[in-house]
């Protein structure tokens, strides 16, 4: 994973993602994340309307935008790692669908939704905590 370790990089990310959200251009945002070190296979799972994951992808981006305003570099990095792990876990679930094991589609979709639920809830909780700490 590309380390995000200076303020300029975060400002650049925020500006870029803000533009992408404004334009609702998810593909451009995906390309930008490729530049951050995610690989194409990992990101492609969020670019598949059949799996109805686009809205969840946008939610991840929204989390990224909101954390940028409130937390320290180390905290941002922790959250980026969590996002990265969510991508990786979901990618492994997708890959099993096409592996020798051939996990049934229905089971795969259930597992994906379940995984999204707890990762996104964890992300949102972390962001809420950071915002609350920031107010104190």
């Amino acid at each position: 994973m590309t380390a995000i370790n200076n303020q300029e990089q975060w400002i650049e990310i925020e500006m870029h993602l803000n533009n992408q959200i404004r334009n609702i251009n998810v593909l451009e945002a995906l390309k930008y994340f490729l530049d951050l070190g995610f690989d194409e296979a990992e990101l492609s799972i969020f670019d598949n309307p059949e799996l109805e994951l686009l809205d969840k992808w946008q939610a991840y981006v929204a989390v990224l935008l909101s954390i940028n305003k409130v937390c320290l570099e180390e905290e941002k990095y922790e959250i980026m790692i969590l996002i990265r792990r969510a991508f990786e876990k979901q990618n492994r679930i997708i890959r099993r669908l096409f592996s020798e094991e051939k996990t049934p589609v229905e089971e795969t979709l259930w597992e994906l939704e379940f995984t999204q639920n707890y990762f996104y809830a964890t992300l949102q909780s972390q962001v809420d905590n950071l915002q609350n700490n920031n107010k104190k």
């Binding site: 792990r85 876990k89 597992e111 379940f114 707890y118 990762f119 809830a121 909780s125």
Partner: protein, 45 residues
């Protein structure tokens, strides 16, 4: 130090463990919306 929540435990769990939990939940006919609520209510301890 915070006690890990159910969500964070799941995020750290190996894939096989998660799959076993999922199989159990499906057998129990738990819906995704119930799961969503469970995770949402699982506030940091």
């Amino acid at each position: 130090m915070k006690t890990p929540t159910l969500r964070t435990k799941l995020a750290d769990a190996p894939d096989d463990t998660t799959r076993e939990i999922i199989k159990l939940l499906r057998k129990m006919k738990v819906t995704q919306s119930q799961i969503h609520k469970l995770f949402k209510d699982d506030s940091d301890k």
